[in-house]
C-alpha cells in the first residue's frame, strides 16, 4: 500500500448563485505516490492542479472516488473520513505548502511556523521553526514580526518553513518556488531531496521547468483527467 493512492476521483463545482451552473473539473483521476517519490502535476492554469492538492488535503470535498492516505497499518479515505479523522490526518500525515500564506494577525513569523507543529512542546516547536526559517534565509529580525506586512517572497518563505517543519509522510507542495530568488529555489530543491531520502511521498505543482526536473520523479498531466463540461 502506497502512502498516497487516488482512484476514480471526480470533482464538479455547482454555482448556485449563477443559476446552478456546473463546472466540472476532474473526472476519474487516479494516481499514487510512493515513499520517497515526487509526483509533479502539470497542465495549464485552470486545469485543476491546485484542486487535486486540495482534494487530497480534504479542503475540497470530492464527489466520487477515493483518496487513501496510509496511517500505520491501515489507510484512511479522505473522501469519506469524519472531520475528526481528517483533522488527525492533517496533523500527523499530511503536510501542505499552500499557494498563499494566510497570515494570522499579530502572530510573529516564528510562531506562525511553530504553530504548525501542533503536537510538539512549545519550546521544541520554536526551535525547529527557527531552524526552518534559517534554512530559508529569513533574517532573525523578522522572526518576531507578523508576516502580513512582508513582501511576497518573504511570505512565501514563511509559508515554506511552515509546510516543511512537520515531518509528515505525505507532503503537498503548491508552487513552492513562486516569488523566490535562485538561492531560495535551491534551498527548496535541497529540502525536497532530503525529504525524499526520508521516505516522504510528495505531490507537487511546479511551474519552473528547471526546478521540476530537479525534484520530480513522475509527471502527471492533469488535463488527462479533465471532465467534459
Amino acid at each position: 500500500m502506497q502512502p498516497l493512492e487516488l482512484s476514480g476521483v471526480a470533482k464538479t463545482f455547482t454555482m448556485h448563485l449563477q443559476g446552478g451552473l456546473r463546472l466540472p473539473v476532474l473526472r476519474d483521476l487516479g494516481f499514487s505516490a510512493a515513499a520517497g517519490e515526487c509526483v509533479a502535476l502539470t497542465g495549464p492554469s485552470g486545469a485543476g492542479k491546485s484542486s487535486v492538492l486540495k482534494l487530497i488535503f480534504g479542503n475540497y470535498r470530492c464527489d466520487e472516488g477515493s483518496i487513501m492516505v496510509r496511517d500505520g497499518d491501515t489507510a484512511v479515505d479522505v473522501a469519506r473520513a469524519s472531520p475528526r479523522q481528517i483533522l488527525s490526518l492533517r496533523r500527523r500525515k499530511l503536510g501542505y505548502v499552500t499557494q498563499f500564506l494566510r497570515a494570522v494577525p499579530r502572530v510573529g513569523a516564528l510562531d506562525v511556523v511553530a504553530d504548525a507543529l501542533i503536537d510538539a512542546p512549545r519550546a521544541a516547536a520554536r526551535e525547529r521553526a527557527a531552524t526552518m526559517l534559517a534554512r530559508f534565509n529569513v533574517p532573525e529580525r523578522l522572526w518576531g514580526l507578523p508576516p502580513a506586512t512582508f513582501s511576497g517572497g518573504e511570505q512565501q518563505r514563511i509559508n515554506l518553513a511552515r509546510g516543511f517543519a512537520p515531518e509528515t509522510p505525505v507532503l503537498l507542495l503548491d508552487e513552492p518556488t513562486a516569488s523566490l530568488d535562485a538561492a531560495n529555489r535551491d534551498a527548496v530543491v535541497e529540502l525536497v531531496r532530503e525529504r525524499k531520502e526520508q521516505g516522504t511521498a510528495i505531490v507537487a505543482i511546479v511551474h519552473d521547468d528547471l526546478v521540476r526536473e530537479a525534484i520530480a520523479d513522475t509527471s502527471i498531466d492533469v488535463t488527462r483527467f479533465a471532465a467534459a463540461a
Binding site: L17, K54, P83, V104, D115
Partner: protein
C-alpha cells in the same frame, strides 16, 4: 491520549426547540471532541443563539438530547440530570462567554473578585490562594495586574471581554460556549481578543462552540463549522471545507457576501 478521549465530549442528537409555533431550531446533531472548535454561523434568526442556549443547559429543548461526558468518563444527559448538577457543571466544567461582557460579569465587584468567584463557589477558602489565582489569570488574558482591584465598570470593552474569559477559564473547564465574543469591539481589539482565544484554546486543549455571524472569525478560531438558516442546519464540515468549497446555495451565498478588506 487515553481511551476516554476517543469518546466525544459532547454528543448532540435531534436537538429541537419550538417557541410555540415558531421554530427555534430543528434536528441539530453532531459530536464534539476535546480540542475541537466548532463555529455555528448564520444570520440573525438562524437559530444559532437558541442552539447555544440549548447546548449550555440554559434553555430546555422541545426534543432531542445533549449528552456530555463527565470527568469520570460517564455520559450524562444534560436535561435529565438534576438542576443542581447542571448548574454545577455550568460553573465548573463549562464556560460561557457572552457577547455583552456585562452579562457575564459582576460589574460592581473587583476584577479579582470576578475571577475568584467560581473558585469560592467550589469551596476555595484561602484568600491568598484565590487572589494569586486571579493574578495569574489576569496575566494570561493580558490584563495589567494592578487593575485586579478595579471593578469592570472601569474597564474598556476589550478588557471586559478578556476578564470574562478569565472568569470562565479559572476552573479549567473543558467546554466553552462563546456567543459572538468579538461582537461590537473595535477591529484592533477584536484581533487581540481572537489571538488570545486562539492561544488559550490551543494551550488548554479546550473544546468550544462559537456562535458568530463573522466568517473571518470562524475561519480563524474554528476547525469545524455548521451553517444555519431559519432554524435548520444547512451545511456542516471542516471550516476550510465549507468556506472554500461551499456546496449548499445558502453557504455559497454567505461566503460570497464577505467584503474583501
Amino acid at each position: 491520549m487515553n481511551s476516554a478521549c476517543e469518546n466525544p465530549l459532547l454528543k448532540v442528537e435531534g436537538l429541537t426547540k419550538w417557541y410555540g409555533r415558531r421554530l427555534g431550531c430543528r434536528d441539530v446533531g453532531f459530536d464534539l471532541y476535546e480540542g475541537e472548535v466548532m463555529a455555528v454561523v448564520g444570520e440573525s434568526g438562524s437559530g444559532k443563539t437558541t442552539l447555544l442556549q440549548l447546548l449550555s443547559g440554559q434553555m430546555e429543548p422541545s426534543g432531542g438530547c445533549v449528552l456530555y461526558r463527565l470527568r469520570g468518563g460517564s455520559e450524562a444527559d444534560v436535561w435529565r440530570m438534576s438542576e443542581p448538577m447542571r448548574r454545577f457543571l455550568f460553573r465548573t466544567d463549562w464556560g460561557y462567554v457572552h457577547q455583552d461582557a456585562q452579562l457575564g460579569l459582576r460589574m460592581g465587584i473587583s476584577a479579582g473578585g470576578n475571577v475568584g468567584e467560581r473558585l469560592m463557589a467550589v469551596g476555595w477558602r484561602n484568600y491568598g490562594a484565590i487572589r494569586q489565582s486571579a493574578v495569574d489569570w489576569l496575566a494570561r488574558v493580558e490584563i495589567d495586574r494592578d487593575r485586579i482591584d478595579d471593578p469592570p465598570r472601569t474597564y474598556s470593552g476589550g478588557m471586559r471581554q478578556r476578564l470574562q474569559i478569565a472568569r470562565n477559564l479559572v476552573t479549567a473547564p473543558r467546554l466553552i460556549f462563546m456567543d459572538e465574543p468579538t461582537g461590537g469591539l473595535d477591529v484592533s481589539v477584536q484581533a487581540r481578543l481572537l489571538d488570545l482565544l486562539r492561544r488559550l484554546v490551543a494551550d488548554l486543549n479546550l473544546a468550544a462552540i462559537l456562535v458568530t455571524h463573522d466568517l473571518a472569525v470562524a475561519r480563524l478560531l474554528s476547525n469545524r463549522i455548521m451553517v444555519m438558516k431559519a432554524g435548520e442546519v444547512v451545511e456542516t464540515g471542516l471550516t476550510d471545507q465549507v468556506l472554500d468549497d461551499p456546496r449548499e446555495p445558502y453557504s455559497q451565498l454567505l461566503v460570497s457576501s464577505i467584503l474583501p478588506a
